[in-house]
């Protein structure tokens, strides 16, 4: 039996680093298939009448939410093309920055040549603390809860808020975060449809609510879902880049697990030989 040496962690890290650098310099561009889940989310947004108000609401950590941003950015682009309107409701301290990042990257504002005008087609609110209290209060009476936008403009002067008073005016709630608890209030209590651009680690968590409210809650799965949404909208963003490197990394994960098991096997043989 050939003796297989135990690899040091550093050796594995060097290999992995090389894989990432390689895919960054030479994108492989492996095509991927469309999933039914992403298609359902896309179709729902597509079916909304122009002028409908969509909320981008949730709380989370930007770095984790970067995964959700792939699908969220593509969805914002889609919403702008369809003539939908968007209100960003930050429920976490980093959510303002994350939501600005998504809107800016989607290039939907008129300053980037997009169709959206701030205050008319989209608006960003300041961070509202309180978690569930903020969501429930927002759904009950927007104008009682919020007085200004993130830049300090009174919301009474922003045209978009003339059509947004309470949960009855919301056509769709999108959540690009881990905020599965929001489903309880948004869909559970008020019956608003929801699309969660779930991170891969949170998909199982979200899917529970998708099963409770079939045809009301839809999910995309992590970077793959993001890449699929990007494909539907016709852009190549972070989702595509992430799936490109993942293609190769997944092979190396399998390779190292097999190597680890071969090492285990060879060490057992070695022990047997010593006993004999």
């Amino acid at each position: 039996m050939v003796e297989i040496p135990e690899l040091k962690s550093q050796h594995i890290w060097v290999v992995i680093l090389c894989v990432y650098i390689f895919t960054s310099v030479y994108p492989i561009g492996v095509p991927f298939r469309m999933s039914e889940a992403t298609l359902k989310a896309y179709n729902f947004i597509d079916s909304l009448p122009p002028g409908s108000i969509v909320i981008m609401g949730g709380s989370g950590v930007f770095a984790f939410d970067l995964e959700s941003s792939a699908a969220m950015i593509a969805a914002i682009k889609h919403m702008a093309r369809k003539g939908l309107r968007l209100v960003a409701l930050p429920l976490g301290t980093e959510a303002v920055q994350f939501q600005k990042y998504c809107i800016d990257t989607a290039r939907v504002d008129e300053k980037y040549g997009g169709p959206w005008k701030y205050g008319v087609d989209y608006a960003v609110l300041p961070y509202i603390p309180g978690g569930s209290a903020a969501v429930v209060s927002f759904l009950t009476d927007v104008h009682a809860l919020v007085s200004t936008d993130v830049m300090g403009n009174p919301i009474s002067k922003l045209p978009i808020f003339e059509d947004l008073h309470d949960y009855r005016d919301i056509a769709l709630w999108t959540c690009p975060h881990w905020g599965f608890w929001i489903v309880r209030y948004v869909t559970g209590e008020r019956g608003i449809p929801m699309i969660g651009f779930a991170q891969a680690a949170a998909y199982a968590l979200y899917s529970v609510y998708m099963m409770i409210y079939p045809d009301k809650v839809w999910l995309t799965n992590g970077f793959l879902g993001g890449a699929q949404y990007e494909k539907l909208v016709g852009i190549k963003g972070l989702g595509h880049a992430a799936m490109d490197s993942y293609s190769l990394i997944s092979i190396f994960v399998v390779f190292f697990v097999i190597l680890g098991n071969l090492r285990l096997l060879s060490s057992i043989k070695e022990e047997e030989e010593v006993i004999e």
Binding site: A63, A204, S207, G222, F256
Partner: protein
């Protein structure tokens, strides 16, 4: 503080807690415009009062770092640097505005960059970890490692290209096997959460309200 005052204080806290909790429950289970108005006002008060807690972090960290720098404790130069950075950052942020492009660029180039890099590094530790731990010694390891690897492979675009139905298998596993475990956690967690809430209302669970105890 005298025992009587502590007693009054403790019970006042419980009264606030019970009124606040019942406002949320009453408004949902009974139709009452008055109860709705009270509940909504209390929720707005909650969001407003909680906004002050955004400043708790800087007070805590400054009091800790100042003490550490004065005593020249380990890493004090880094802490001094952090304090200077915090002050400059606050000035820059308040001056330029949270939604300005300058602030956004600064935030993305520092905090977010660092956070993504730190989380991204986990892949290195993860892969060296699976090399060592996914060694099939028991049935449990076999099940765990096999399903984890299956998911890794099924999510990869190349697998979906070779096996067109791979994506369907991924979602079947996620929506059935994965969801079942999470649903169990949701049910058990929900029951636990309700029990905990009742204990809080009955004053049996003090939790964050330990501050009411005599120091």
């Amino acid at each position: 503080m005298s025992a009587t005052l502590t007693y009054i204080r403790t019970y006042l806290v419980r009264v606030i807690l019970i009124i606040a909790a019942l406002s949320g429950l009453v408004t949902w289970y009974f139709v009452s415009p008055q109860a709705d108005a009270i509940a909504n006002e209390l929720q707005i008060w909650n969001t407003a009062a909680a906004s002050w807690t955004l400043f708790v972090g800087i007070i805590t960290i400054f009091s800790h770092y100042i003490r550490s720098v004065m005593k020249r404790e380990r890493y004090w130069p880094y802490q001094l640097y952090a304090m200077i950075l915090m002050v400059l950052w606050c000035i820059m942020g308040v001056w330029s505005g949270l939604y300005s492009n300058l602030y956004q660029t600064a935030y993305l180039s520092t905090k977010i960059t660092l956070h993504i890099a730190i989380l991204g590094q986990l892949i290195f530790f993860f892969i060296s970890g699976v090399y060592r731990t996914f060694r099939i010694k028991t049935a449990r390891t076999l099940l765990y490692a096999f399903l984890a690897l299956i998911m890794v492979v099924l999510n990869a675009p190349w697998t979906q290209w070779i096996f067109p139905n791979a994506e369907k298998v991924t979602f079947w596993l996620l929506n059935n096997v994965g969801m079942s475990g999470e649903r169990t956690l949701a049910i058990t967690g929900g029951i636990g959460g309700v029990v905990l809430s009742i204990r809080i209302l009955l004053g049996l669970e003090k939790g964050a309200l330990r501050a009411t105890e005599e120091i």
